[in-house]
């Protein structure tokens, strides 16, 4: 049986932080402030623990397994150790150290995004071939319309009132969908918070 201590602590802390957020009482703020500082420190340490687990818990174990290819794991461990040592030695604001991000990380991520753009364009060619139904056709038309809208090509015809009104109305359609998504996300976040607060969900139990 799980100990009820953790849900009780969660409930009390949730009450204090929530009350300190809505009620500007100095006593509550004095309790809430150090709790938030602790949370920031714990989250930073958690990130460090996650990195250590990735290096020593996953890739180091792969190196010790002769049945698996361990070259990439060795490369990951080596890159981590070098980057970590440089960061400690030079500091994060060093221009040479920032090349790790600007010359390696950013081009890789940008390249993946470019490949994604090409892949999406190629997949769109076969959109109706795979989804030969009315939903696929509707999606096909929507893709074309919004690509043209974002390109700004309709600015060639600024004097057509009907077209401008139509474009303005169509541009509101994604906003309507976004509002629905935001409301759903807000309700889901509220429910998740309440469930954790009341102990129904216990992600802290592991």
């Amino acid at each position: 049986m799980r100990s009820p201590l953790l849900p009780v602590i969660t409930f009390i802390v949730g009450i204090l932080v929530l009350a300190g957020y809505f009620l500007p009482i100095p006593a509550l703020i004095s309790i809430r402030t150090p709790m938030l500082d602790w949370a920031i420190i714990v989250s930073g340490v958690a990130a460090l623990i996650a990195i250590a687990n990735l290096i020593f818990g996953v890739h180091w174990r792969r190196l010790r397994d002769p049945s698996k290819d361990h070259w990439f794991s060795a490369l990951v461990i080596l890159a981590f150790l070098v980057t970590f040592a440089c960061g400690i030695f030079f500091g994060p604001t060093n221009l040479g150290y920032q090349k790790v991000v600007t010359a390696i990380e950013m081009p890789i991520e940008a390249s993946l995004m470019a490949v994604l753009a090409v892949t999406l364009a190629y997949s769109s060619l076969r959109l109706l071939q795979r989804q030969h139904n009315w939903m696929g056709f509707f999606f096909f038309i929507a893709v074309l319309v919004f690509l043209l809208l974002n390109s700004g090509i309709f600015s060639l015809l600024p004097n057509l009132p009907i077209l401008q009104n139509l474009i303005s109305g169509i541009s509101q359609a994604p906003i309507a969908g976004a509002r629905g998504i935001l409301i759903g996300v807000a309700l889901g976040s509220l429910l998740t918070g309440i469930r954790i607060w009341l102990g129904s969900d216990r992600p802290y139990n592991g």
């Binding site: 938030l36 604001t93 364009a121 071939q129 976004a178």
Partner: protein, 702 residues
């Protein structure tokens, strides 16, 4: 004064006590005192009934001889002698009554006393059951103590039992002697001979007959009839000395052998010494329940209430018939419906064994629910397992998802090598066209592009806000983006930062992303080159990485100085001018959030905006997340925002300072138009060349 022993439990009681302190039985002395002091209306009835055997007169030998000659038993002779003596001494009777006793006796009771000897009393049937011959005057000695039987003489004349068929009468009634004087004399003679033989062979029983006690117990334990109890006890004691016929007259012989005297048995009350609380109360109080050994009580409930039954005989004959089987109760229908067995197998009358419980508190009562029968109807509690219950709809949806996944795998695995190579070629052609569409406008100067004719409202608001920023207040920039969308965001933020740096407004930047601050520093490189005077020490402060996500934003909104005390180079962040004026988040001139993720923008808006007050919040966001930010702009939580390349071009157009965004607009628009054309052509081709998939038959080769 001497104590009076209780006739029931034998324990001593005070002489003044009317009832036993232990068992609440009526005491002798108390009863006698009560009888002397209070008028007993039942005493008036004794004028016409035989006296108690306790007042047995001296035995007259001559009278007995005469009676023997007449064929009358001795006990009857004694009764008659006693009656004659009482008639000859009326003054002794009168002394027992108060002077006005006659006046207090009701007239109807006096008439009953006068008429009762001449009437045929229903008690004859009772006497028949007991084996005592009925007579107009000769009553058994024991009947003298039974006051209820005396009351039967009050009843009006009832229809004679012979009106009923003989076979319907109870067995005891059939054993009654025939009516008439001749028959009476015959059976009396037989009875006398047998009684004389028994009296010669047997001695009177030393112990009181348990039958007598039991028979009288029904009246002895009635608290409202003290006088019969007095007579009962005295008669019970004196019955020991009675001759056997007389003693047997007070008893009820067994039905099989009515004339045979009952053997004397040990009185169970003699062993009764009191109620023991730790033992069963019923076993201590009630007499032994061995019905076979114990003779039938002379006074049973059915017999005592026989006159009531006869009164009820005035009703239809079917209702007056005595039945030995209790009629089952008429239960309501809803109670019958509760019994599943009964509802299935019929009524209790149909199958009494099902509803006649042989034990328990409801034993013998028909129509009751059997607790034991209900036990099989109880089932053990349901056990809930941890397995997932999948409904049909959920299975259908899972099947759809599985089909989609299988289809994509089939297309990859089922394609022939020739078809696969053609797909690869087509994929390469699309990629090449897109690269050309991007690269050619950048190479060829003066490529056509369409500038925005109308400026979005959020861009105009952002532009106006930046132009209205105070110079002495620094701006806080949150660079929460990664390298994948660096190209888009760097073009979007440059016109905005150009405006800020053109006004020489100090900037402090941070990131909740580990690479955000470094990427923002890279984005500032062309601007630093463009505005060389801006690069004074202290104008740009890198606050570095802010841990904790939304919690870190909470802390920053509460106290930015404490949350980020040092810069990324571990220098004090809030000592140089103009940052030394910052004590809270609202002291900044504006907050600019640069992100490609709508959730990150949402965190900043929800956690930090309430602490900003009137400080404007401007967001530079990717075009893909712009619709999710629009509701915050509509609600006023976001002052303005720039989304994507086209909004940056609009901002540059407003600022009349074309930069990177405008220079890449042509490439952007041509590439988008190319993609639209490719999708349109591919869609039309798919509609024309579409062939529905046919399932392969198992008999045909693939």
């Amino acid at each position: 004064m001497a104590d009076i022993p209780c006739p029931v439990c034998g324990r001593p009681n005070d002489s003044k006590a009317e009832r036993c302190w232990y068992c609440q039985a009526v005491l002798h002395g108390a009863d006698s005192a009560v009888n002397k002091n209070s008028p007993d209306w039942l005493d008036g009835l004794r004028e016409n009934v035989p006296p108690s055997t306790g007042e047995e007169p001296p035995k007259d030998v001559n009278a007995a001889a005469d009676s023997a000659q007449e064929g009358i038993p001795d006990w009857l002779v004694r009764i008659r002698e006693r009656e004659n003596l009482e008639k000859g001494k009326p003054e002794e009777k009168e002394t027992k009554f108060p002077e006005n006793s006659d006046s207090e006796i009701p007239d109807w009771l006096t008439e009953l006393n006068v008429d009762s000897p001449n009437e045929k009393s229903p008690a004859d049937s009772t006497s028949a059951k007991t084996g005592v011959p009925p007579s107009d005057k000769e009553q058994p000695v024991d009947d003298d103590n039974d006051w209820l039987k005396k009351l039967e003489s009050w009843q009006p004349e009832k229809p004679r039992p012979e009106e009923k068929p003989a076979d319907e009468e109870p067995k005891a009634v059939q054993a009654a002697p025939p009516q008439g004087s001749k028959d009476e004399e015959n059976w009396l003679k037989i009875f006398k001979e047998e009684s004389e033989e028994d009296s010669q062979n047997e001695e009177p029983s030393a112990q009181p007959s348990p039958v007598t006690v039991n028979g009288d117990s029904s009246s002895a334990f009635l608290p409202d009839e003290p006088a019969p109890v007095d007579d009962l006890i005295s008669s019970a004691e004196e019955e020991k000395n009675l001759p056997e016929p007389a003693a047997s007259a007070g008893t009820v012989p067994s039905e099989n052998d009515p004339a045979k005297p009952e053997p004397s048995k040990k009185n169970w009350l003699n062993d009764f010494t009191g109620i023991k609380p730790d033992e069963n109360l019923a076993a201590q109080v009630l007499p032994p329940t061995n019905n076979e050994d114990q003779p039938k009580a002379p006074f049973t409930g059915d017999q005592s209430m026989s006159f009531l039954d006869e009164a009820a005989s005035e009703t239809p004959a079917a209702a007056s018939e005595p039945s030995k089987i209790l009629e089952p109760a008429n239960l309501p229908a809803w109670i019958k419906a509760l019994n599943p067995k009964q509802s299935e197998e019929g009524s209790p009358q149909d199958n009494p064994a099902l509803t006649n419980t042989p034990f328990g508190p409801l034993a013998g009562i028909e129509g009751v629910l059997k607790g034991e029968e209900l036990l099989p109807s109880f089932t053990p509690p349901h056990t809930f397992t941890g397995t997932i219950k999948v409904t049909e709809n959920q299975q259908a949806r899972a099947q759809i998802l599985k089909n989609i996944a299988d289809q994509s795998r089939w297309e990859d695995e089922g394609l022939e090598e020739k078809s696969r190579s053609s797909h690869r070629i087509l994929h390469g052609i699309v990629a090449a066209l897109m690269l050309l569409a991007v690269w050619i406008p950048l190479v060829i100067k003066g490529s056509p592009s369409v500038l925005p004719a109308l400026y979005p409202g959020e861009v105009v608001q952002a532009f106006n806000t930046i132009n209205a920023l105070p110079v002495d207040k620094p701006v806080l920039v949150a660079a929460d983006f990664d390298g994948s969308l660096y190209g888009e965001l760097s073009w979007s933020l440059q016109p905005l930062l150009s405006q800020i740096m053109a006004k020489n407004i100090a900037v402090a930047y941070l990131s909740t992303n580990s690479a955000g601050a470094t990427l923002f520093s890279k984005a500032l490189d062309p601007l630093v080159i463009r505005y060389p005077n801006y690069s004074n020490p202290g104008q740009l402060v890198n606050l570095g990485y802010l841990a904790g996500g939304s919690i870190g934003l909470q802390s920053l909104a509460r106290d930015p100085v404490t949350t980020l005390p040092l810069t990324a180079s571990l220098q004090p962040a809030w000592q140089s001018k103009p940052f030394n004026a910052i004590t809270k988040i609202s002291d900044f001139g504006a907050l600019i959030v640069i992100t490609e993720n709508a959730d990150t923008a949402k965190y900043w808006i929800e956690q930090v905006k309430p602490s900003l007050g009137t400080t404007p919040l401007i967001v530079v966001i990717s075009a893909q997340s712009a619709p999710l930010l629009q509701p915050y702009y509509d609600s006023g939580q976001v002052t303005g925002y720039i989304s994507g390349l086209y909004s940056a071009v609009a901002f540059e157009s407003l600022a009349k300072d074309p930069q990177s965004a405008t220079g890449h607009l042509s490439s952007f628009q041509i590439t988008l138009i190319l993609v639209v054309l490719l999708i349109l052509v591919g869609g039309i081709a798919s509609l024309i060349l579409y062939r529905p998939k046919t399932e392969k038959k198992p008999g045909k080769p693939a």
